[in-house]
C-alpha cells in the first residue's frame, strides 16, 4: 500500500503543476499586474510611478512564463510562475498582496470553518443514513412516499432560504441563539448551533434520497434474504448486513470530501459571520489578490488529491476484495 500511496503522491506533482499553470493563465488573462496595482492602491491619485513601485515590491514586475531579458535557465527561473509556484510545493504561501501572512490567515480561519463543517458533516451523515435506513425499513409504505416528497421539497428550496428563515425564526422571533458572530472555545457553541442545524437540514433531502437508493439496491440481494431466513431482526439485518455492504458506494462520495472540509462554506460563513476560509478565496478574487488565489487553489487541489487517496485506502478497510497495487 505504501508504494501505491507514494506513486499516487508522485502523480500529484504534475497535476498540481498543471493546476498552477491554469490558475496563473486564467488570473492574468483577466487581471494585468497594472490592474492589480490600481485595485490595491485605490482608484484615486494613482500615478504610473506608484504602479511601478507596487509591482516591484510585490514581484509582479517579472514576466509571467518566459523572461526574454534573462539568459540560460534564468529565462524560465526568473519568471513569476516559477518563483511563485515552487514555494507552494513546500507550503510556503508567502504574503497576500496587502501584506498579511497567508499561512497564518489559513491556520486561523480553518478552525472556525471546521467548527461548522465537521459537526455538520458527521451528524448530517449519521442522520441521513439513519433516516434512509428507516425508510428502507418501511419501504413502499406511506412513510416512504411522504419522506420522499419532503426530501424532494427540501432539495428544491435554496440553501439561502433555510439560512434566512432559520435566522428569522430561531434568532429574531424566538430569540434562542445569536443571529451571527463567532467566539473561540465553548462560548462559541451558541453561534454554531444554528448554522450546523441548518447545514444538516439543507443536506437532508439529497442525502436521504441518495442513501435510500443505495440501500434499496442492496435490500433485495441474496445475503439479505439469507440473513432474514436465519431469523435475524430487521434492525440487525439493516445495521449488521445492509449498512456494511452499502458503505462502499457511500465512501466513494464521502471520504473525498473530508479533507476539503477545511475550505469552509461561502454562504453559510458569510451569513453567520463565521471568520472561516469559505469567503477567503472569493474575497481575494474580488480584491485581485493573486497571492491568496494561487495559494487557496493549490491547497484545494492538494486536499482533493488527499481525499481521493483516502477514498482508495478506505475501500481496503471495508471491502477485503480490494487491493491497492
Amino acid at each position: 500500500m505504501l508504494a501505491y500511496i507514494i506513486r499516487r503522491l508522485l502523480f500529484a506533482v504534475p497535476i498540481l503543476i498543471g493546476v498552477n499553470l491554469i490558475t496563473f493563465a486564467l488570473f492574468f488573462m483577466v487581471n494585468t499586474p497594472d490592474d492589480m496595482a490600481r485595485v490595491h492602491l485605490g482608484a484615486k491619485q494613482t500615478s504610473p510611478e506608484m504602479i511601478t513601485a507596487w509591482k516591484q515590491i510585490h514581484g509582479y514586475d517579472k514576466p509571467l512564463f518566459y523572461n526574454e531579458k534573462a539568459s540560460g535557465l534564468s529565462k524560465l527561473n526568473e519568471t513569476l510562475f516559477v518563483q511563485e509556484s515552487l514555494k507552494l510545493f513546500w507550503f510556503d504561501f508567502g504574503q497576500s498582496d496587502d501584506g498579511r501572512q497567508i499561512s497564518s490567515d489559513i491556520k486561523e480561519r480553518m478552525w472556525p470553518s471546521l467548527a461548522i463543517a465537521l459537526p455538520t458533516f458527521i451528524i448530517g451523515l449519521i442522520t441521513n443514513i439513519a433516516i434512509a435506513l428507516l425508510i428502507v425499513l418501511f419501504r413502499g409504505s406511506v412513510l416512504d412516499s411522504a419522506t420522499m416528497v419532503v426530501a424532494v421539497a427540501i432539495m428544491s428550496i435554496s440553501g439561502l432560504f433555510y439560512i434566512i428563515a432559520g435566522q428569522v425564526l430561531f434568532s429574531k422571533i424566538w430569540h434562542w441563539v445569536p443571529i451571527s458572530g463567532y467566539t473561540d472555545g465553548w462560548d462559541g457553541m451558541k453561534f454554531l448551533i444554528l448554522p450546523i442545524l441548518i447545514g444538516i437540514f439543507a443536506g437532508l433531502g439529497a442525502g436521504v434520497r441518495w442513501y435510500r437508493s443505495i440501500f434499496l439496491e442492496e435490500i433485495n440481494k441474496d445475503y439479505i434474504r439469507t440473513a432474514r431466513a436465519k431469523g435475524l431482526s430487521e434492525i440487525k439485518v439493516l445495521f449488521g448486513h445492509l449498512l456494511q455492504n452499502g458503505l462502499l458506494p457511500i465512501l466513494t462520495g464521502v471520504v473525498v470530501v473530508i479533507p476539503t472540509l477545511f475550505m469552509g462554506s461561502l454562504i453559510m460563513e458569510s451569513f453567520f459571520g463565521i471568520p472561516g476560509l469559505g469567503s477567503y478565496t472569493i474575497d481575494a478574487i474580488h480584491a485581485q489578490d493573486f497571492g491568496i488565489v494561487k495559494s487557496m487553489v493549490f491547497l484545494g487541489s492538494v486536499l482533493y488529491i488527499i481525499g481521493l487517496i483516502l477514498t482508495d485506502i478506505s475501500y481496503t478497510f471495508f471491502d477485503p476484495r480490494v487491493r491497492l497495487n
Partner: protein, 709 residues
C-alpha cells in the same frame, strides 16, 4: 437542552452575541464588512480604513464636528497655522501680491500631547530602545501586540510631523498623494528621489531634511509650499499628515514582526482618543480609549441651523465618552440589520433589503421613520453627501463630444431625457437629489433654490426645480440634426454606453438607460465589461458615454471643478488625468486657474458660478445625482451628527449603557413554548414508528394465491 445550557448564563438574552459585561460598559458595537487593507496613514486612502485610523492618528487640523459649512479647527495645534506669503527671494509680501512664489505655514503644536502607550517607546536605563532589536528567542514568544508587557509614551514633537512627510516621500511606501505633494511642498521632489534610490533606515531618515519642511523647535514646524494654495489647509486635516514617531518605525521594521502580522500597517501608533488593541481583520477589531489622551473636549458652540440643541448637552466635557469600540465582521446586510433591531448594534445604515421596513417616503418625497422604528425609539439622520455620480459624455467623441452648437444641443437633449429623479426613486429608494451642476450641496459654490438650478434641464415651478418636458429635448435633438432620433440619411442614431455593471442586478438599471434614450428615438448599445477593461477604456478615452463618481477629498469647489479642468483630461495626460469626459473649455480652464488660488470670498463665488453656468451649457456631464446617506441609531446612542468629511467623530459620541441593557433584555426574551412542542412532537412520532416496526417484525410471508410457479 444544549441550547439552554450553552446560552443559559443570562436567561433573558440567549441570543446576545456579546458578553453581558461589555454591554453594560460604555462600549460601542459596530461592524465591518470588508477588511481594511492598510492602517498606515501614509498609504491609506479608503473610507473604511480612515474610520479606524481617524480615531488613532491626529493630523494638525480637524473639521469642526457641528459647524456647517464645514470648517477647520486646530486638532494638535494651539491655533490655526499662520500663513506667510513669500516672493522668489523668500521675503514676506502681501497676500494680494501677484509675486507670491511661496506660502509658508507655521504650525505651533500643543506641547503637552502624548502618544498612546506602546512598546516602541520603552527605553532601558542606558536610554536605548528596549524592543528595537529583539533576539530570535524573544521573538518566538511574541504572537500578538499584547505579548509586549511593557509600554511607555512620549510627547508629540514637531519632528514627528516632519518624519511623516519624509515617509510620504519614499516611493516604495506608495503614498497616493506623493505626486500631488511633490508639486506642492518645496524640496519634496528632490528629497523623494534621494530617499527612493535605496532603502533608508528610520534613524537615518529622521536626520535627513526636506528644504521646505523646517523643524524650528519641539513644538514649531514650518512647511513651505510653492505659490498660493489655500486648500493646503484641508490636506493638513488628512491622515497623510498624521505624526509618525520614528521609534515606531524602528520597532516595526525589525525582522520577524511582519511575519506575525505586526507592523505599522496593522497596529497604528498615535496620539488620538483611541488605540487599536486588537486587529484581526478575519474576525474582530477593537479600539479602547487612549489613557494618555487629555486634549480633546466636546465643542461648546457651532450648532448649525435646524440642529437639535441637545447636541450641546455635553459641551466642554472631556473626550472620549465611549471607552471601547468593538467592530465585528459582518459580511451580509440581513444579519446586520436584524442585530441592530435586537439592540446588539448601536447604529446601522439602511440597505435596500431593509429600506421599506425602516423608512417611509411621504408624498412630498421626504424620508421618515416607519411606526415600527419609532416604537423602538430608533432615530435617524440623513444628509446629502459631498459626492457626485455623473453621466459623462466623451468630449473627444465625434458624435456626443465637440463644442459646436449642434453637438452641444445633442448633449443638452440627452441631459433632459435622462430623468435622474426617476432613477433615484427606482434604484435608490429616494436616497439622493438630482444634481444641478458639478458642486454638491454643502460645498462652497453650491447654490440652492431658483438661482442654483440648471436652466438648460430644469424650470423653476411652484418653488421646486422641474425637469423640462421631453418635447423640449426632442426639439433640441432635432436642432442637433437628429429629428426623432434619426440621422440625416434616415438611419437611427445609435449611441454607446460603457459600463462595468455586468451582473444580473444591473440588468434593470441598464434597461432603464435604454428606456431614457428610447424616449428620444435613440438606440442605446450597452458595452458592458469588467472593471479593469472599463478603466482601460476610460484612460484611453475610448468610451462614448459612461457613469462615474467622485467623493470629496475636502470641502472646496476646486476638488470638484478640477474634474472638468482641461489639464486633467485623459487625452492630454495620457490617461493619468481624472477628467474622463475630456472637457477642455479655455474659458473654464482660465477661471479654474484663478479660483484655485483664491480664498472663499464673494469674488470667488461669482467666478465659480460663472464656471458652473459654462459647464451647464456645454453639458459634458448629464449631472447625475448627489447621494444621501441614512444613519439609524438607537435612543441610547447620543451626540450623533452627520459629518461625512470628518473621520475622527467617534470621540464625540456617547452611549447610555444602562438604557441599552434594559432594552436589549426587553426585546430579546426567549420564547420557550416551541421547544416544548418540538419535544412533544418527537415523542409522539416515535410511538407509531415503534408500533409499525413491531407489526413488521410479526408479519408472516403469505404465498401467492394465483399464478406463479
Amino acid at each position: 437542552m444544549t441550547l439552554i445550557s450553552v446560552s443559559g448564563c443570562e436567561q433573558s438574552r440567549w441570543n446576545s452575541p456579546y458578553e453581558l459585561g461589555l454591554a453594560k460598559q460604555p462600549t460601542l458595537f459596530s461592524s465591518f464588512s470588508s477588511k481594511p487593507k492598510h492602517l498606515d496613514p501614509v498609504i491609506s486612502y479608503n473610507a473604511n480604513e480612515w474610520s479606524i485610523i481617524g480615531q488613532v492618528y491626529e493630523p494638525p487640523l480637524q473639521y469642526h464636528y457641528l459647524k456647517r459649512p464645514y470648517s477647520l479647527e486646530p486638532l494638535t495645534l494651539q491655533s490655526m497655522p499662520e500663513v506667510t506669503f513669500l516672493n522668489e527671494q523668500g521675503q514676506p509680501i502681501s497676500k494680494d501680491s501677484t509675486d507670491i512664489a511661496f506660502s509658508e505655514y507655521t504650525l505651533y503644536l500643543n506641547p503637552s500631547i502624548r502618544y498612546q502607550p506602546h512598546p516602541a517607546f520603552v527605553k532601558d536605563i542606558t536610554g536605548h530602545l528596549t524592543f528595537a532589536n529583539l533576539s530570535a528567542d524573544k521573538l518566538s514568544d511574541i504572537t500578538t501586540m499584547e505579548d509586549f508587557k511593557q509600554t511607555d509614551t512620549r510627547l508629540l514633537m514637531a519632528e514627528d510631523y516632519a518624519y511623516a512627510i519624509k515617509r510620504m516621500a519614499v516611493q516604495l511606501n506608495n503614498s497616493p498623494i506623493l505626486g500631488t505633494m511633490k508639486r506642492l511642498i518645496v524640496g519634496l521632489s528632490d528629497f523623494s528621489e534621494q530617499v527612493s534610490l535605496s532603502p533608508v533606515k528610520p534613524q537615518a531618515l529622521q536626520k535627513m531634511k526636506i528644504t521646505g519642511v523646517q523643524v524650528v523647535s519641539g513644538s514649531e514646524l514650518k512647511i513651505r509650499i510653492y505659490g498660493k494654495y489655500p486648500q493646503f489647509l484641508y490636506w493638513l486635516s488628512m491622515n497623510f499628515f498624521a505624526p509618525i514617531p520614528w521609534e515606531a518605525e524602528v520597532f516595526y521594521n525589525q525582522p520577524g514582526l511582519a511575519e506575525k502580522n505586526i507592523s505599522l500597517d496593522t497596529y497604528p501608533v498615535g496620539t488620538g482618543a483611541y488605540q487599536l488593541v486588537e486587529n484581526n481583520p478575519n474576525k474582530r477589531m477593537r479600539l479602547v480609549a487612549n489613557p494618555n489622551y487629555d486634549h480633546g473636549f466636546y465643542p461648546e458652540s457651532g450648532l448649525s441651523e435646524g440642529a437639535d440643541p441637545v447636541l450641546l448637552k455635553d459641551a466642554g466635557k472631556q473626550l472620549p465618552f465611549i471607552k471601547e469600540v468593538v467592530y465585528s465582521l459582518e459580511k451580509e446586510s440581513v444579519p446586520l440589520w436584524n442585530k441592530f433591531l435586537q439592540g446588539y448594534y448601536d447604529a446601522s445604515g439602511v440597505s435596500s433589503d431593509s429600506f421599506d421596513q425602516a423608512i417611509s417616503i411621504s408624498g412630498g418625497g421626504h424620508l421618515n421613520l416607519t411606526p415600527e422604528m419609532k416604537q423602538k425609539g430608533i432615530q435617524f439622520l440623513n444628509t446629502v453627501e459631498p459626492t457626485i455620480y455623473y453621466f459623462g459624455f466623451n468630449m473627444a467623441d465625434p458624435v456626443v463630444g465637440g463644442y459646436s452648437k449642434k453637438q452641444r444641443k445633442l448633449r443638452q437633449a440627452l441631459s433632459i431625457a435622462l430623468n435622474f429623479e426617476e432613477y433615484i426613486s427606482i434604484f435608490m429608494n429616494g436616497r439622493g437629489v438630482a444634481a444641478q451642476g458639478p458642486i454638491p450641496p454643502g460645498i462652497f459654490g453650491h447654490e440652492s433654490g431658483q438661482k442654483g438650478i440648471n436652466s438648460i434641464v430644469y424650470d423653476w415651478k411652484n418653488g421646486h426645480p422641474k425637469r423640462k418636458p421631453i418635447e423640449v429635448a426632442k426639439k433640441l435633438l432635432a436642432e442637433a440634426g437628429y429629428p426623432n432620433g434619426r440621422k440625416s440619411n434616415g438611419e437611427p442614431l445609435v449611441l454607446h454606453y460603457d459600463t462595468a455593471a455586468t451582473g444580473p442586478d444591473s440588468k434593470a438599471q441598464l434597461n432603464w438607460y435604454r428606456k431614457q434614450f428610447a424616449k428620444l428615438g435613440i438606440q442605446l448599445v450597452i458595452r458592458a465589461t469588467d472593471y479593469n477593461r472599463f478603466q482601460d477604456k476610460m484612460r484611453g478615452a475610448k468610451g462614448q458615454m459612461f457613469t462615474w463618481g467622485w467623493n470629496a477629498d475636502y470641502p472646496d469647489p476646486e476638488n470638484f471643478l478640477f474634474l472638468l479642468n482641461g489639464a486633467q483630461s485623459v487625452t492630454q495626460t495620457r490617461g493619468a488625468g481624472i477628467n474622463y469626459a475630456n472637457y477642455d473649455n479655455p474659458e473654464f480652464n482660465r477661471l479654474f486657474k484663478k479660483i484655485k488660488t483664491m480664498e472663499n470670498s464673494p469674488e470667488r463665488l461669482a467666478l465659480i458660478q460663472k464656471m458652473v453656468r459654462i459647464v451647464q451649457k456645454d453639458a459634458p456631464w448629464a449631472w447625475g445625482f448627489n447621494p444621501k446617506s441614512l444613519a439609524l441609531y438607537h435612543s441610547w446612542y447620543h451626540n450623533v451628527w452627520p459629518n461625512p468629511l470628518a473621520n475622527n467623530t467617534l470621540k464625540y459620541k456617547r452611549i447610555d449603557a444602562i438604557e441599552r441593557v434594559t432594552k436589549q433584555k426587553a426585546w430579546n426574551k426567549p420564547v420557550i413554548w416551541p421547544i416544548v412542542i418540538v419535544l412533544l412532537l418527537l415523542l409522539i412520532s416515535i410511538y407509531p414508528l415503534i408500533k409499525a416496526y413491531q407489526a413488521r417484525q410479526k408479519a408472516v410471508v403469505v404465498p401467492h394465491q394465483k399464478g406463479g410457479l
